[in-house]
C-alpha cells in the first residue's frame, strides 16, 4: 500500500471532505499558501482557493468563535490553531459556547465544528508550546476529543470528525507530522469512540494514545525480548472513551499500565484507572501503574524535558513492576 506522512494524511482527509461537501471550510493562522505551521494544510488553498481556506488574524477567540457561528449557520468549519497551548485563549468559545449550545438551546442548534491543534512536547519548546490539554477537554460534557497516533488513523478519524454533527477537538502530535505510514487512497472513516489494539499481547495491557503509542510499542518490543508479552490499546479518542476495549484487554491480561504524555492528576489516565477500578477491579492481579508527565510545566532544556516527560525506559520499568 502507498505511504503518506501523518501531515499528508490529514491534508488528504480535509481535501476529500472539502470535495465531498461544499459546506466544509477551513481557517486558521498561516494555513493558506504557507501550508500551516506543520504542513497539514499544504496544497489546500491551491485547490480550494482563499474563499474556503482562509488565513485569519492572530485572534484565537475571534476565529474559533467564528467557527462556532459558522457551524450554527450551515457550514462545517475546520479551525486550525497553530499550537494547542493557545487553546486557552479560545476556550470560552469551545467550553461555554460550542459544548453547551445544542443542549442549552433545547436541541435547536447543532455545532458541527472541528478544532484541530498540534499538541505535545519532546521539541525543547518549553511550557507554552509543548502542552497537551486533552484531559481538560475530555472533561467537558459536549465535546469529543480525538488524538490519532498514525497516518492511517489521522485520515480516518479526521474524516469522521468533519462529518460529525458535534464539536470535535482534534489534537495532532507534533512529533508525528513527519511519520510515514500506510494510508489507503480510498474513502474510509474510523468511528469516534473506537479504540484500536495496536499490538496484541497476553501479559500486560498498556492503555495509551497519541505519540505515546509509538513509545509504548517500542517499549513492548524491548519487553518481548525479556519474555513479557504486552498488549497496546490505542484509545484514539479520549471522549468518547472505549470502555469495552479497555475492560476486554484488562480482563485478558490482568495487569494495567496507563501511559499518557501530559500531567497526571485529574487526567485521562485517572479516568482509565477509575473505569477499571469500578468495573474490573477483581480481574487485576496487580495495582494499576500510570506513566505520565510530572506535574510541572514542560521545561526547555532537553535534560529537564526528558526528566519530566514519559520515555520508553519509564514505560519498560512500569510494565516490569506490574509483570512481577
Amino acid at each position: 500500500m502507498r505511504t503518506l506522512t501523518y501531515a499528508e494524511a490529514l491534508a488528504e482527509a480535509m481535501a476529500e471532505e472539502m470535495r465531498r461537501d461544499p459546506a466544509v471550510v477551513l481557517w486558521g493562522i498561516d494555513i493558506g499558501p504557507y501550508g500551516g505551521a506543520f504542513g497539514a494544510t499544504r496544497g489546500l488553498s491551491e485547490e480550494f482557493g482563499p474563499e474556503r481556506v482562509i488565513d485569519m488574524p492572530v485572534s484565537e477567540a475571534g476565529y474559533t468563535g467564528c467557527g462556532v457561528g459558522a457551524a450554527a449557520t450551515g457550514l462545517r468549519p475546520i479551525v486550525e490553531l497553530q499550537f494547542s497551548d493557545w487553546i486557552t485563549i479560545a476556550s470560552d468559545m469551545l467550553i461555554n459556547q460550542a459544548a453547551n449550545m445544542r443542549y442549552m438551546f433545547g436541541g435547536e442548534i447543532s455545532i458541527p465544528l472541528v478544532l484541530r491543534a498540534p499538541v505535545g512536547g519532546y521539541t525543547s519548546a518549553a511550557a507554552q508550546h509543548s502542552h497537551s490539554f486533552e484531559s481538560i477537554f475530555a472533561y467537558v460534557a459536549g465535546l469529543k476529543v480525538a488524538l490519532p497516533a498514525t497516518p492511517y488513523d489521522a485520515k480516518g478519524l479526521l474524516k469522521s470528525a468533519i462529518r460529525d454533527n458535534n464539536p470535535v477537538i482534534f489534537f495532532e502530535h507534533k512529533k508525528l507530522y513527519e511519520v510515514e505510514g500506510e494510508v489507503p487512497q480510498e474513502d474510509y472513516t474510523i468511528p469516534l469512540g473506537q479504540a484500536d489494539v495496536k499490538r496484541a499481547g497476553s501479559d500486560v495491557t498498556i492503555v495509551t494514545y497519541s505519540y505515546m503509542v509509538s513509545k509504548s510499542l517500542a517499549a513492548a518490543e524491548q519487553l518481548a525480548a525479556d519474555g513479557i508479552d504486552v498488549e497496546v490499546v490505542d484509545l484514539r479518542t479520549v471522549d468518547p472513551i472505549d470502555e469495552d476495549a479497555i475492560l476486554a484487554s484488562v480482563k485478558k491480561t490482568h495487569r494495567l499500565v496507563v501511559v499518557q504524555e501530559t500531567w497526571r492528576k485529574c487526567s485521562v489516565s485517572s479516568e482509565v484507572a477509575a473505569i477499571v477500578a469500578e468495573k474490573a477491579l477483581d480481574y487485576l492481579d496487580e495495582p494499576i501503574v500510570r506513566v505520565t508527565a510530572h506535574d510541572v510545566p514542560v521545561p526547555f532544556t532537553p535534560v529537564l524535558e526528558e526528566y519530566v516527560l514519559p520515555s520508553e525506559e519509564k514505560i519498560v520499568a512500569a510494565v516490569k513492576r506490574v509483570a512481577g
Partner: protein, 319 residues
C-alpha cells in the same frame, strides 16, 4: 420619515410586547413563580425593535444575557419564551436554558448568551458563513457597553472589517456594566469611536428613539447586504431596572433613573404615529390590548405547562 406603514406599526407592536412581557416577568419573578434570575430589558425597547425592524426574517441576530427584548423583536414566540422562564417542558429550551439562553434558528435567533462579549465572534462567524454561502443574510450582533471592553469585541470586529463581512454590531450602551459606571473604566466617551480603529463606520444614536435606531440600522444593513462590510452602531440608552431583578440599586443616582424613565421610548413614538396619521388613538389602544391578551395567554400557557421529566436532563447533548 420614509418608512413603510407596516414597519411603523410592527415597531409599535413589538415595543409594546417587550414592555408588557418584561413588566409581567418583573411581577411574576417577584411573586416567586420563576426559578433562577432574570435581567430585564425595560427602557431599552427601541434598540432591539429598531434594529430588528431593519432585518429580514432569515437574517440572524445574536443576543445577550439581557435578551428577552431581542428575541421578541426578532419575532420570538412569547408563549415558548414565558414557558422557558418558568422552566417548563414546553419552553424554547425544554427547561434547559432559561432566561439567558433562548435560541430559535427558524427566526435567525442564534441564541442569547450568558458570557459577556461571547456573541461577537459567533455573530462574526454567522456573517462569514453568509458571505461564503452567498446567502445575502445579514447578522445583527447585540451587545452591551461592558462587552465593548472584552477582547472578543476587538477580535471580532477586526475580522469582520478585514473580510467585509455582513454584520452590524449594535452596542446597547446603558451606562453601567452591572454596578460599574462605564466612564470610570473606559477612556473614550463614544464606543462608536472605536469603529475608526477598524476603518469601519461607527455612529452613536439615541437608543430611546426607535426611528433613529431603525434608520441607522437600515442603512448599515443595506451596506452589509451590498458587500460593503460591517458597521458599529452605539445606541445610548438606559435600563430602568437593576442589573438583575432583586439586586439593590446602590450605584445609580435616583434622579438619573427618573430622568431616563421620563425619556421612555414608546409613548413619544405612539404620539408621533398618531400625529402623522399612521394610527388613531383607538387603533393604538387596540394594538396594546392585543399585546396584553397575547401575554395573558402566554402566562397561562406557561403556568399550565408540565415540568420536564427529570430523565430528560440526560437527553439532547449530542446531535
Amino acid at each position: 420619515m420614509d418608512i413603510p406603514r407596516e414597519k411603523l406599526l410592527l415597531m409599535v407592536e413589538r415595543m409594546l410586547k417587550v414592555r408588557h412581557f418584561e413588566d409581567r416577568v418583573k411581577d411574576l419573578f417577584a411573586a416567586g413563580e420563576m426559578p433562577g434570575f432574570v435581567h430585564l430589558y425595560l427602557g431599552e425597547e427601541a434598540v432591539a425593535v429598531g434594529a430588528c425592524a431593519a432585518l429580514n426574517d432569515d437574517d440572524y441576530i445574536t443576543s445577550t444575557h439581557r435578551g428577552h427584548g431581542h428575541i421578541i423583536a426578532k419575532g420570538g414566540d412569547v408563549k415558548r419564551m414565558m414557558a422557558e422562564l418558568y422552566g417548563k417542558a414546553t419552553g424554547y429550551n425544554k427547561g434547559k436554558g432559561g432566561s439567558m439562553h433562548i435560541a430559535d434558528p427558524s427566526l435567525g435567533i442564534l441564541g442569547a448568551n450568558g458570557i459577556v462579549g461571547a456573541g461577537l465572534p459567533i455573530a462574526t462567524g454567522a456573517g462569514l458563513s453568509a458571505k461564503l454561502r452567498k446567502s445575502g443574510q445579514v447578522t445583527v450582533c447585540f451587545f452591551g457597553d461592558g462587552a465593548s471592553n472584552q477582547g472578543t469585541f476587538h477580535e471580532a470586529i477586526n475580522i469582520a472589517a478585514a473580510f467585509d463581512l455582513p454584520v452590524v454590531y449594535v452596542c446597547e450602551n446603558n451606562l453601567y456594566a452591572v454596578g460599574t459606571r462605564q466612564g470610570d473604566v473606559r477612556k473614550v466617551e463614544d464606543i462608536a469611536d472605536r469603529g475608526v480603529g477598524y476603518d469601519i463606520p461607527g455612529l452613536a444614536v439615541d437608543g430611546n428613539d426607535v426611528v433613529a435606531v431603525y434608520e441607522a440600522c437600515k442603512e448599515a444593513v443595506d451596506r452589509a447586504r451590498a458587500g460593503m462590510g460591517p458597521t458599529l452602531i452605539e445606541c445610548k440608552t438606559y435600563r430602568w431596572r437593576t442589573h438583575f431583578e432583586g439586586e439593590p440599586d446602590t450605584y445609580r443616582p435616583p434622579e438619573e433613573v427618573e430622568a431616563w424613565i421620563k425619556r421612555e421610548p414608546i409613548a413619544p413614538y405612539r404620539k408621533l404615529l398618531i400625529e402623522q396619521g399612521v394610527l388613531t388613538e383607538a387603533q393604538a389602544d387596540e394594538i396594546e390590548a392585543d399585546v396584553v391578551r397575547e401575554l395573558d395567554e402566554a402566562v397561562e400557557f406557561a403556568r399550565q405547562s408540565p415540568l420536564p421529566e427529570p430523565e430528560t436532563a440526560l437527553q439532547g447533548l449530542w446531535a
